[in-house]
Symmetry: C2
Subunit: 205 residues, 2 copies
């Protein structure tokens, strides 16, 4: 792209560094910013800077929070003995939206991915191990993506955690609710047959 | 969406104000920002603030530029007697990329759109009228979108400009090059028949 202004080019390049934002979208965003009054732009850049400077991660679960210990970890109504391990805070929000889980979370901050140079040391796995107390922890649920990175991380965590004598589970993989059988890929369908469950257990209470 | 942090919510809401960015995408962008070092974020907010504070619009054509008069308007190799009127600078870039135009531009800064409260006074139409000198201007090309707003603006400009005794043209509308006839909508196909041109004229030199 040929830009008529160096300042414009800089701003577009900065936006284009976001994942999923190409140069065309970046230009659209920059031009929409330019049409806004200066105060809006100050509010925008202020919100970002403030977030980065003041953001806090919960000391227990590593969820983003405004407090030292987040609302979920400090909530006595939640089952603190049930720990759901997730990749990032988007997964916390997604699981919270289901209203099917009343335990607490542990946010890893990513998945093991040698391709992207992310190893176990880059994730909050040590924090997770510190948290687990066999007498207090009832179950660890590994709710990670069904991708190669997710499976690698699950395998690593399983090896690290199995000596704690705490049950470790992973969330079910199978056909989506409402999905037709003919559109499901072979791997998913095959696994859903192998990991079939008794009909009575499939009924959601 | 339930956010675990007010700061996070603010930042996501700021991103979600962009056109075409919903709350889910905004959250993805904010989390990717959070994973970056503080210097990257300062560079990002700096580029935006700098653009807004220092941006210059060419005095002649209203294109974004670092100079008072942009590179296109000050280029003696370009035909200054041929003015192509466009909506915004993205259109300038798109037409420049075709390598088919060697005139100059006039950026309106939008289209007349009563629905969005944009009237002729909000566009740089007065500047366009000041620019036109019958003895110096050979042709005015209206290269605006084929939408209701584009058509309204073309009609308005035509009424304003027709007394200047300068030829006014609009860019051709018809089937896309490389497009199959069966996929073209009826209105476009109908217009492309009505506005058909002699075969010899259709050959690009």
């Amino acid at each position: 792209m040929n830009f008529s202004s160096k300042l414009l080019e800089n701003a577009v390049n900065e936006f284009a560094r976001f994942p999923g934002i190409g140069h065309k979208t970046a230009l659209r965003l920059v031009l929409s910013l330019l049409n806004q009054p200066s105060e809006s732009i100050d509010k925008f850049t202020g919100a970002i800077t403030q977030l980065k400077q003041q953001v806090c991660y919960c000391k227990v679960c590593r969820n983003i929070s405004d407090q030292v210990i987040c609302e979920l970890c400090s909530n006595v109504k939640r089952d603190q003995s049930l720990i759901c391990v997730v990749e990032d805070i988007r997964d916390v929000m997604a699981i919270e939206n289901t209203n099917q889980f009343n335990g607490v979370y542990h946010v890893l901050g990513g998945l093991i991915s040698p391709m992207n140079g992310i190893g176990p040391a880059d994730l909050s796995i040590e924090k997770l191990i510190e948290r687990i107390k066999p007498e207090e922890t009832r179950e660890i649920i590994l709710a990670l993506s069904a991708t190669m990175e997710g499976d690698t991380t699950i395998f690593y965590l399983y090896k690290k955690l199995k000596d704690f004598a705490v049950p470790i589970s992973t969330i079910a993989r199978g056909i989506a609710v409402g999905g037709g059988l003919e559109y499901v890929d072979e791997v998913t369908l095959g696994r859903s047959i192998i990991t079939r469950i008794p009909y009575e257990n499939s009924l959601v209470k």
